[in-house]
């Protein structure tokens, strides 16, 4: 039997309404890079967060160096030698490099820091790993560093603290290819020092470049662990592709789609990463946008809705070129956004249903600033009925509703404002399966009634079941656009997005 430095058996993690991990197994050898892959929501991040002590309420056993340990906190995991490098790097921006690397382990006596020793220790770590680490000045503030450099600091920190296991969550999602190469060089050095790496990523080509083994998760379940030299990216992609739980199937809707465009976007430039987007949406169409996190989909939606400003390009709505300067302008042009972050962007949780549904149109249903209370209630009652929102009354505080019903309230808000173009950004995130189906049916019936819909999602099955056309975002641009049909497979789409 081989020596595992880490072994996780039958791990179960439940979130309200969702089983995120269902009896999964995972193990890691000394000096190994073990990649963990799966679609969004497969449970990869959840597992490493359990291993690193962020989710302490798991069920199952975790063995570290053969001894069973209950990982109850991040500091407990650290003491076991397990380090976590999150996707969003969290360093102390106002401290310098030395102070960041050795935080929690400053050399010194009686609470006084021995700065000389701190400097020496830092230099030692830097020399040990060489490369770009040497080009950094010790007393630079971490806040002034680039993301790649910050990541390097995170990793140096892991080394300085004598860690034996390091968990990386999507480490290359915001790196350039050169920075990625540097990271890989560093990872191979870690490997030579006997440190085990758990590497979560979407990018198969990178994984095949550096990892030793690969494990696939699907819908919170363990699928397979393979040695990298015995498999092929195509096989992995096929293993990742999920089944789907929805009862809604794709159907041809071309008779309901008009020829004229509701929205056209030409040469849209948002920032240095998102340089050119060309896109159009027909009246009555559901246009699905697929792409991995960070591919530019959400930024695109934010610009369309006037939250962020475009640097360049044309936006044409119902044949008229428009400048969308604010969300207020976007609403006037007939746009409505069902945002990804329902709680922080879509709803005012502490207020009731009636307030939330009427929020956008308060100016229209008021006289001299006084709210038309009868009209307000009438409108809320109407949408409660139409959208089948399950709540005791229109005075129920939105915070007390389930995710699915909350999402319906966001949708009701825009129907109430008579928006013609609806942008759904991950509308089924954090919503239970039954309500998901209801949201899908609602989206389709809205399109049938003539609304034009942009449907953004990272879940392939729902994109494929709902969309009339599918555009795929990658690296800040739409790299492919497909007419949906029965014959399109998840593989057809995924191959564009992860290549």
């Amino acid at each position: 039997m081989e020596e595992y430095i880490l072994e996780a058996k039958n791990i179960v993690e439940e979130f309200p309404g969702v089983i995120a991990l269902d009896k999964v197994n995972f193990n890691l050898k000394k000096g190994e890079i073990h990649a963990l892959v799966g679609e969004n929501g497969a449970g990869k991040s959840t597992l490493i967060k359990i291993i690193c002590g962020i989710y302490p309420n798991y069920a199952g056993e975790i063995y570290v160096n053969g001894v069973e340990k209950r990982i109850k906190s991040v500091s407990y995991a650290r003491n076991l030698g397990i380090a976590y490098v999150p996707q969003e790097i969290d360093l102390m921006n106002h401290l310098n490099i030395e102070e960041n690397i050795f935080i929690g382990k400053y050399p010194g006596r009686l609470g006084f820091i021995n700065w000389k020793e701190l400097k020496n220790n830092t230099n030692k770590v830097k020399e040990q790993y060489g490369g770009i680490a040497l080009s950094l000045e010790n007393n630079n503030l971490v806040g002034d560093l680039s993301i790649a450099e910050k990541q390097l600091i995170e990793i140096l920190r892991v080394l300085a603290l004598d860690m034996q296991i390091i968990c990386l969550d999507e480490p290359t999602s915001s790196l350039t290819s050169e920075e990625t190469d540097n990271l890989f060089e560093l990872l191979s050095k870690l490997k030579r020092n006997g440190i085990g790496t758990i590497y979560v990523s979407h990018k198969l080509n990178e994984i095949f470049k550096i990892s030793d083994r690969i494990t696939v998760f699907k819908d919170g379940k363990f699928v397979k662990t393979l040695a990298i030299n015995e498999t092929h990216p195509d096989e992995i992609t096929k293993l990742m592709v999920g089944r789907d739980l929805s009862s809604l199937r794709w159907e041809k809707r071309s008779n309901k789609i008009k020829e004229e465009f509701a929205l056209e976007v030409r040469g849209l430039k948002i920032n240095e990463k998102i340089k050119e987007i060309n896109f159009n949406l027909k009246k009555g169409e559901i246009h699905g946008l697929f792409g991995l996190v960070g591919s530019g989909r959400t930024e695109f939606a934010r610009v369309l809705f006037g939250i962020d400003k475009a640097k360049d390009g044309k936006i044409i709505i119902f044949g008229k070129e428009v400048k969308i300067k604010s969300s207020n302008a976007a609403i006037t042009y007939g746009l409505g956004l069902i945002p990804e972050d329902r709680h922080n962007q879509g709803l005012v949780l502490a207020m009731d249903i009636k307030n939330n549904i009427n929020f956008v149109i308060y100016k229209m249903i008021s006289r001299f600033g006084f709210i038309g209370r009868v009209l307000e209630s009438k409108k809320a009652e109407k949408f409660l009925k139409i959208l089948n929102i399950k709540a005791p009354s229109i005075r129920t505080i939105v915070n007390n509703l389930s995710g699915g019903n909350q999402q319906k309230i966001v949708i009701a808000k825009w129907l109430n404002a008579d928006s013609k173009i609806l942008i759904f950004d991950e509308p089924t995130k954090g919503i239970d399966v039954g309500s998901k189906d209801e949201i899908y049916k609602l989206i389709r019936s809205l399109a049938d009634e003539g609304k034009s819909i942009i449907f953004i999602s990272s879940e392939l099955p729902e994109i494929m079941n709902l969309s009339d056309r599918i555009s795929i975002f990658k690296d800040g641009t739409i790299i492919a656009s497909l007419e949906n049909s029965k014959n399109i497979t998840e593989y057809d789409i995924l191959k564009h997005a992860i290549k």
Binding site: N328, G346, M351, F359, K390, A391, T396, K413
Partner: protein
Amino acid sequence: MKNSQAKFLDKNKKNRKIKNIDNLIIFAVLIGVVLYFSFKNKSFLDEVNLNALLITLSIIGIVCIGQTLLLISGTFDISLGSIVGFSGVLLAKILELFKINNLSLFILFAFIVVLIGGLIGFINGLIITKGKINAIITTIAMLSIIFALSMIISKGKYIKISNLSFLSLAAQKFGFVPLSFIFLIVLYLIFFIVLKFTVFGRYIYAIGSNENSVNYAGVNVDRIRILLFVLAGALSAFAGIILSSRLTTGHAIFGSSYPIITVAAGVIGGTLLSGGSGGVIGTFLGITLLTVLEGGFSIVGIPTHVKDIFTGTILMVSVIISESLLKRTKR
């Protein structure tokens, strides 16, 4: 499903009940305190003392309105106290300089001073929203600037008021009810209605509970925030004019204790520091309680600093109570 619906209902009812109970408790405490003081000292409820109490209440109560609106929207203004002192000094100085002695010119200049108070609030709001500077820092900076301006204008001295109209502003009364108390009641009524029935009011609560969503709904959040600072500044200037009238002088130091007391009144009245809830009725009860305590203590002969300990304790206890209630209702 039926079952969970019933649960929602229960939660909502509880929510509303707790709010009412909050105000009822303060009301009960207030009654108790009034009874205690009037029992201890017979003169506590006589005409002179009651009149004095109501004037004091009116002045600080007006400042409280602006502070409460800001609190509901999730922020507060520390410079309001300095605006109170500044407006008294400014108006007294103007009237002295131009030797103005008639009513209409007095009203005109009083109006201008109120506008200047609003302008100070406007600058606060502009820096906080457009410059994205923390509200505490901004208003502390504004406090020292305005205080310094008052000191420069008054050369650090009391400016005696000789304009009769100015003097009678606070002295005017109907029975034992001072004119300023009528202003107070009218203003509270207006802002009660604004908060409860208007779009503007709804926006204030919404911004306090989640600014981001309000922005996504196409509302110009910055404009509303600035307007709230303008209102708070203008109301404070108005209160400052009444205070100077009452003390027959203008001085920079007047109102300097107001920032803390006004926040305390709001919090005691059930407005959360984190924003999104509360109202002027609660604030009215809160500031009445604090004013009665202050008046009562001095009439019973308890020294000022002991009274300050008491005020501080009440503030802490009410914050703890409201935060723990919040925790319980949120889950």
